[in-house]
Subunit: 199 residues, 2 copies
């Protein structure tokens, strides 16, 4: 297998994409070269513009090409609720639920062993944001993993004296799931959080 | 779900890649933006350079950034065998077998209903190549599909009067395959092409 230098360089470059190995990268490169050069050029331009032009919103710290992202600059959103998530992707996920409050995006989760302390993930900025805001509720929407739970607990402790209602997303059965497929931890959360049926 | 314009443009652009739908495109865009901007920029540059710089070899018509690709300009290769394939990808596949003859790359297969006639896929250039060469054998390595077989037959008829040995790749059981999984057509080819065991 000996590709020419430019093709080899393109195949290697494709491997930065998540889930793309050697074979897939090869297929992508050759398909673009053989079938869709203009699409390839469009992708090159879009990548270049996005890598340079997209920064972070100074308020919620999500990805944005404006100084203030379109969610933060939307005055119709609820100023009394703040949803804290681990990354920009999570903002788009939470938006799908119909949530229309404010966001704060951490840079990941606490992980002291990897050198990710409160300063690294943005806790000081979070406290500043809450002090400057008029929030009544803070929703801790970090991932339901060991690290996400630890991060949520840490934030809850810090905010304990601020007269805020601090909540965490519910655990339970995912819709469309099957009891036998769900892990024991989730199932016991679903049991202890059971609710009366509304008739 | 409302991404900012540059991010939306990047997600749309990723969808030109084979096998990449909305969700995957989103994951690729956000992962690059959050984790690997320099990798994204490298990919943009590699794409741009390859889309502009890679052309076709004037002899075998495979992808190449030189006028003559590195396979055609390699003087040590066998000048007496020509392998005809349907596309540049197939050259890389055949190279893996250890084949060290010459190549000719068609632009796909004959498909009169789609307007792909002998001129479109490059039959005149193929005849010119054979007339100017000193080939003793022509290997028809088009795909073992209805269209690939038809294309191979068409070429074999055209070359019938040229005093060449014209061969087609063998059909049979793929290595590691299981009899019960192989289709009837392949299995009957494998039967009729059975060979004495070498002890």
């Amino acid at each position: 297998m000996s590709f020419s230098p430019l093709i080899r360089q393109l195949i290697d470059a494709f491997r930065v994409l998540p889930g793309v190995g050697q074979k897939t990268a090869q297929r992508m490169a050759l398909q673009l070269l053989e079938r869709d050069r203009s699409g390839g050029q469009r992708l090159a331009d879009a990548l270049s513009q996005a890598m340079e032009g997209v920064g972070y919103c100074r308020q919620c710290r999500s990805l944005s090409e404006e100084e203030l992202c379109h969610l933060c600059s939307d005055l119709r959103r609820d100023e009394t609720v703040l949803c804290i998530v681990q990354g920009p992707v999570d903002v788009y996920a939470v938006e799908q639920t119909g949530y229309r409050g404010r966001y704060f995006v951490l840079k990941g989760h606490l992980s002291p062993l990897d050198g990710l302390g409160p300063e690294t993930i943005g806790i000081p900025e979070l406290i500043g944001r809450i002090n400057n805001g008029s929030f009544k509720e803070v929703i801790l929407a970090t991932n339901p993993t060991v690290e996400g739970d630890a991060t949520a607990h840490y934030i809850a402790q810090i905010l304990a004296d601020k007269n805020l209602s601090i909540t965490r997303l519910a655990h339970g059965m995912p819709l469309g799931g099957e009891l036998e497929m769900v892990d024991g931890g989730t199932l016991s959360h679903a049991f202890s959080g059971r609710r009366p049926i509304q008739l």
